[in-house]
C-alpha cells in the first residue's frame, strides 16, 4: 500500500473528522506541521524486525475476568444524571439522530 510521505491540511481535517473534533482555522497549519514532524519520528519503528513477534496488548496474563452473576445495587438514575447537560423525565437528552 502506498503511504503518503507527508500529510496535508485536508488529510488532518479528515482524521479530525473521524475523531469528531473540529479544528480551529488558525491552528490547522501549525497542527499539520507538528503532526508530520511527530509521525516522521514514529516512522523509526518501521525498521524494527518484528517477524513472528506477537503483539502485547496487555502486560498481565489475565483473560475472562468474570464475577458471579449475582444481582447487586446499581447507581440510581438520579445520581447518573447529575452531570447531564440536558435531561428530561429521567433520561439524558441529546440531539436528534433521525
Amino acid at each position: 500500500m502506498f503511504m503518503k510521505k507527508s500529510l496535508s491540511e485536508e488529510d488532518i481535517e479528515h482524521i479530525a473528522w473521524l475523531a469528531r473534533i473540529e479544528l480551529f482555522e488558525k491552528e490547522k497549519q501549525v497542527f499539520t506541521q507538528q503532526f508530520n514532524t511527530i509521525i516522521d519520528y514514529f516512522r523509526a519503528i518501521d525498521g524494527v524486525n518484528t517477524n513472528g513477534v506477537e503483539p502485547t496488548f496487555h502486560v498481565l496474563n489475565l483473560s475472562n475476568v468474570y464475577r458471579e452473576d449475582i444481582v447487586e445495587d446499581s447507581m440510581s438514575v438520579k445520581k447518573a444524571l447529575i452531570n447531564a447537560t440536558r435531561k428530561e423525565r429521567g433520561y439524558f437528552k441529546a440531539s436528534k439522530i433521525v
Partner: protein, 480 residues
C-alpha cells in the same frame, strides 16, 4: 505552633495516635501553609478545607472515645484531579470536565477514607494526564517550589509540588509514561509507579489503559511504602487488577542491600542525557556499591524505539478512551441545540479539549485508521513485546535496573510548550517501565544548581519491596 505541616506521614500518624498533637491542629497548620504558598505554586485545582477539618475532628473524637483508627488517621492527602472523588469536582485539569462531579469514589479513595486519611483537595495536572510539565492545564501551570520560573514536571505536577512545599504529607498521582516519576524527580520527592495491575484503576479517568497506574508520592521511602500498602491489592471492580493479596510494604522494610545486583543500561546514560544528571546518578550508584550492592553496565538496544512505541500505543488508546466525551452524559456542552449530532460532538470537543489533548486524539485516530493500523498500532505492540523480552532477560541477571529518572533538569515554564516533540523526548527514560508493566520508583538523588535530580530504580513484576529497600538504603546515605 511548631511546623506541623513539615512532618512526614509516619510522624503525623504516630503523634496523633499517642495524642501528642490533635488531627485538627495538624490539618489547620497544613491549611495555613497552603494559604501561604498556594498562590505562587498553583498546585491545587480544588481545596476541600471544611470537609478536611470535619474529618480531622471525627478522627480526634474517635481517639478520645478509645475507638480504633486507621493506619493513616489524621494524615493529609492530596489527590490528582483525574481520580474520582464522590461529590468533589474532578476536572482532569480540562475545560471538558470543569464542572464534573463524580457520583462515586475511586477504589483508592475508598481505601484511604477507610484508613481515616484526610483528603485536602485535588491537584493540578496536565490535561487528561497528557504532558510532562503540568503546563497543559486549563487552570494554568504548576510551578516548581525549587524555582518558581520552572516546571514542576508532569503530568502529576500538582501532587509533587504540593508535597515538596509541605502542602500535604502524602499525595496520589497517576503514571502512564512517567507522570509520577517525572514530577517526583523535578520536585525532589519520592514517587512510585506500581506494577501494572497492583493498584486498582477503578475511578481513574482513563488516558491509556494498558499503560497507566495510580502511584503514591511521599516525602520519604517509608511513607511511600505506607501509602502503597493502603491503596494496593486486588479489586473486583477493575478487570485488569492483578490477583494479588494486599501486602504491608513497611513491615520488613530494611536498608540491607548486600548482594543486590544492579544493572545500569548504557542507553540510560547516553545521548540526550545531561552530563550533570549522569554524574549525579552514577554517584548514587557508587554509594549503593559502598553499601554492599554491585553494579554492571549493559545494553538495552530496544530503548531507541521505546519512545515512539509508547506514544503510538498511548495516543491510540487515548483516542478510544476520550471518545466518550461528547457533552451528553457529562462534560462540556455548548448551550445551543445543534441540529446535527456529529457537528455537536465535534464542536463540544473542539472547545472542551486543549490543543495537546486534541493533537494526541487525532494522532491516535490516524494510527488506528484503516490502512495504518498494522503499520503503526500493531507494529508498536510488537516492538513492545521485544522491549518486554529484553527487560525479562535483564532481570534474570540483575535484581534492579538503575538510571536517571529524567534526562534533563527542570526546564523553564514555556521553554518547550511550542515544540511537542521536544516535550515527548523528556519521557525517554520513564516510558519503558510502562510498556513492560514493571514497577519503578524515583528517589531524590542530589541537587545541581539548586535543581533536583532523581534516580530511577526499576524492578521485575511485583518487586516493589526491592525498590523500597534500595530507596531506604540510599536515603540513609543522603541523610548522612
Amino acid at each position: 505552633m511548631t511546623e506541623l505541616f513539615s512532618l512526614s506521614a509516619r510522624e503525623v500518624s504516630d503523634k496523633i495516635k499517642c495524642s501528642e498533637i490533635s488531627a485538627e491542629e495538624y490539618v489547620t497548620s497544613v491549611f495555613l501553609k497552603i494559604k501561604e504558598v498556594e498562590d505562587s505554586l498553583n498546585a491545587f485545582v480544588t481545596l476541600t478545607e471544611s470537609s478536611a477539618l470535619k474529618k480531622a475532628r471525627e478522627v480526634d473524637k474517635k481517639l478520645r472515645n478509645g475507638e480504633d483508627v486507621g493506619r493513616l488517621a489524621g494524615v493529609t492527602l492530596a489527590i490528582k484531579d483525574n481520580i474520582c472523588t464522590e461529590g468533589v469536582r474532578t476536572t482532569c485539569a480540562s475545560k471538558m470536565l470543569e464542572s464534573f462531579i463524580p457520583p462515586y469514589n475511586a477504589t483508592v479513595v475508598e481505601r484511604l477514607l477507610k484508613e481515616d486519611a484526610i483528603i485536602l483537595g485535588k491537584t493540578n495536572m496536565d490535561e487528561f494526564a497528557m504532558g510532562s510539565s503540568s503546563e497543559n492545564s486549563y487552570f494554568g501551570p504548576t510551578r516548581n517550589p525549587f524555582d518558581l520560573s520552572r516546571v514542576a514536571g508532569g503530568s502529576s505536577g500538582g501532587s509533587a509540588a504540593a508535597l515538596a512545599a509541605n502542602e500535604s504529607a502524602l499525595a496520589l498521582g497517576s503514571d502512564t509514561g512517567g507522570s509520577v516519576r517525572c514530577p517526583a524527580s523535578f520536585c525532589s520527592v519520592v514517587g512510585l509507579k506500581p506494577t501494572y495491575g497492583l493498584v486498582s484503576r477503578y475511578g481513574l479517568i482513563a488516558y491509556a489503559n494498558s499503560l497507566e497506574q495510580i502511584g503514591p508520592f511521599a516525602k520519604d521511602v517509608y511513607d511511600c511504602a505506607l501509602l502503597l500498602s493502603v491503596i494496593a491489592g486486588h479489586d473486583v471492580k477493575d478487570g485488569t487488577s492483578a490477583n494479588v493479596r494486599k501486602e504491608d510494604y513497611t513491615k520488613d522494610l530494611t536498608d540491607d542491600i548486600r548482594g543486590m545486583k544492579i544493572g545500569a543500561p548504557r542507553e540510560f546514560f547516553g545521548k540526550g542525557v545531561e552530563e550533570d544528571v549522569v554524574k549525579s546518578v552514577w554517584k548514587g550508584i557508587y554509594s549503593l556499591e559502598d553499601l554492599g550492592a554491585s553494579y554492571e553496565e549493559f545494553s538495552l538496544p530496544s530503548m531507541k524505539h521505546a519512545l515512539a512505541t509508547y506514544y503510538l500505543i498511548a495516543m491510540s488508546e487515548a483516542s478510544s478512551n476520550l471518545a466518550r466525551y461528547d457533552g451528553v452524559r457529562y462534560g462540556y456542552s455548548e448551550k445551543i441545540d445543534a441540529k446535527d449530532w456529529n457537528k455537536m460532538f465535534s464542536s463540544n470537543r473542539r472547545i472542551g479539549f486543549g490543543p495537546e489533548v486534541r493533537r494526541r486524539i487525532i494522532l491516535g485516530t490516524y494510527a488506528l485508521s484503516a490502512g495504518y493500523y498494522d503499520k503503526y498500532y500493531l507494529k508498536a505492540l510488537q516492538v513492545r513485546t521485544l522491549i518486554k523480552e529484553e527487560f525479562e532477560k535483564a532481570f534474570k541477571k540483575y535484581h534492579v535496573i538503575i538510571g536517571p529518572t529524567m534526562p534533563i533538569l527542570p526546564f523553564k515554564i514555556g521553554e518547550k510548550i511550542d515544540n511537542p516533540l521536544s516535550l515527548y523526548m523528556c519521557d525517554a527514560l520513564t516510558v519503558p517501565a510502562n510498556l513492560v508493566g514493571c514497577p519503578a520508583i524515583s528517589i531524590p538523588c542530589g541537587v545541581i544548581h539548586n535543581l533536583p535530580v532523581g534516580m530511577q530504580v526499576i524492578a521485575p513484576f511485583f518487586g516493589e519491596s526491592c525498590l523500597f529497600r534500595i530507596g531506604y538504603a540510599f536515603e540513609g546515605v543522603v541523610k548522612k
